[in-house]
């Protein structure tokens, strides 16, 4: 997959400019706090709009300011893991993972082999029926990853996915995430982190945002 990004956005008192062509499977996005890492992910996802530029995935244009093209997030077929995980607190782990089944856009109602495989790989089986509010930080992180991957997106955006986990849990979560990502080679991944060791655990392809 080839993801072309060339965007410009005014952020409070400075300009976010980013230009890259991504062809490998995994990229790490680094930069100091407030530089616009999350904003960049949100622009790629279509949750925030840039003032100028163009984003295309393979031959499909996702965003083009000049031609006034701006595909809605769902049409971009991506998975987004939010920094605060954004799990639906009123649902169980399984209902969070299978949330897509409640939507008209995804009529399939059966547990797929891929879903079962993901649940097994992420060691979520014992917690599926529990409300997400009763899960530990590491368990919630894995539920959020599973939910982001369940529809086999062409692009997975991970925004500081290991924030809030202690060191031991963080490295365990990184190992599990790496293992799962090797099972989904067709999914391109951008991982945002302010920690170089987290990023290099995944990839040597590092995108640096600087002020």
């Amino acid at each position: 997959m080839t993801l072309n990004i060339d965007i410009h956005k005014q952020m409070n008192e400075r300009q976010l400019n980013f230009q890259a062509t991504l062809t490998n499977q995994i990229y790490g996005l680094m930069g100091p706090s407030g530089v616009g890492k999350t904003t960049l992910l949100r622009i790629i996802a279509g949750l925030t709009t840039a003032e100028a530029g163009r984003i295309s995935c393979n031959q499909q244009v996702w965003f083009d300011a000049q031609q006034q093209i701006n595909l809605p997030p769902a049409a971009r077929q991506l998975g987004f893991m939010f920094q605060n995980l954004a799990l639906f607190p009123h649902l169980s782990a399984q209902a969070n993972i299978e949330f897509y089944q409640r939507l008209k856009a995804h009529p399939q109602k059966v547990t797929t082999n891929f879903e079962q495989q993901l649940i097994t790989e992420l060691e979520l089986q014992p917690y599926l029926t529990r409300p997400v509010t009763q899960l530990s930080g590491g368990q919630r992180q894995r539920v959020a990853l599973c939910r982001a991957l369940i529809l086999q997106p062409q692009l997975l955006l991970l925004d500081e996915p290991f924030t809030g986990l202690d060191d031991q849990l963080r490295w365990r979560a990184i190992e599990l995430t790496k293992k799962v990502l090797t099972k989904t080679p067709s999914t391109q991944v951008i991982v945002v982190s302010h920690r170089r060791d987290e990023i290099t655990a995944f990839t040597q392809n590092i995108l640096q945002l600087s002020i």
Binding site: P72, P73, G79, A86, F88, P89, A105, V132, R140
Partner: protein, 221 residues
């Protein structure tokens, strides 16, 4: 009769304003529009006006010579003036800002990332409302209904202007208390006040319990 009339008016006004204010509040929450402030100001206008001004406006509009009044007269000479429907309409206008403000606060309490997570997965705005927003804001939505209902129950100025006080026809708790005192019937006024206070206290108790639930929900995941 005044108790039944008041309950009927408050219930109808609560339901109607909920159906008007929820889509508007949800729409304005999701979209930043140029005319959003105008729409919001229009909904909030009755809050900064004395109810008698709202009543006077409705009298002018739905009176014999008003545009609305002449239109309604086409249907079997129907008139809103001096009717329970007129009192209900006046109450709707007066309580609409309360419903809107309370609903807006309830919807804003939902983590925007939850809405975005649903959007990324392909949820339509209506699905997001039904599957994410309402389940995570239902306590706030019930509080909105209770506050509006209580305010509607006590509506006096605007409904008196539009519906007057006709015993057995347009009398409400608030107007009956006023006219009972005017007529020296303190017993009836006290009884009706007691009923109103009881309903208000019960509503506040429920609101308190719901607020406690909201506070518990705010504990970080």
């Amino acid at each position: 009769m005044p108790i039944i009339h008041s309950l009927l008016i408050a219930f109808s006004a609560t339901l109607t304003t909920f159906l008007i204010a929820l889509p508007v509040a949800y729409y304005l929450l999701r979209r930043r529009t140029h005319f959003g402030w105008l729409l919001e100001s229009l909904l909030l206008l009755p809050l900064v006006l004395p109810p008698t001004v709202v009543g006077l406006f409705l009298l002018q509009l739905f009176g014999k010579f008003g545009l609305g009044g002449r239109f309604l007269a086409l249907f079997h000479n129907y008139s809103l003036i001096f009717t329970l429907s007129g009192a209900t309409l006046a109450t709707i206008i007066v309580v609409l800002p309360i419903m809107y403000q309370a609903l807006k606060a309830a919807l804003q309490s939902v983590d925007p990332n939850l809405i975005e997570a649903a959007t990324v997965m392909g949820a339509t705005p209506l699905e997001t409302l039904r599957l994410v927003v309402v389940p995570n804001a239902y306590q706030g939505l019930i509080i909105s209904l209770l506050l509006t209902f209580c305010r509607g129950l006590g509506e006096f100025g605007a409904s008196l202007m539009v519906a007057g006080y006709i015993e057995g026809k347009t009398d409400t708790i608030a107007t009956s208390i006023y006219f009972s005192i005017q007529g020296g019937d303190t017993q009836t006024a006290l009884f009706l006040s007691g009923v109103n206070i009881l309903i208000g206290v019960l509503a506040l108790l429920l609101i308190h319990l719901l607020n406690q639930q909201i506070e518990r929900r705010k504990q970080p995941l």
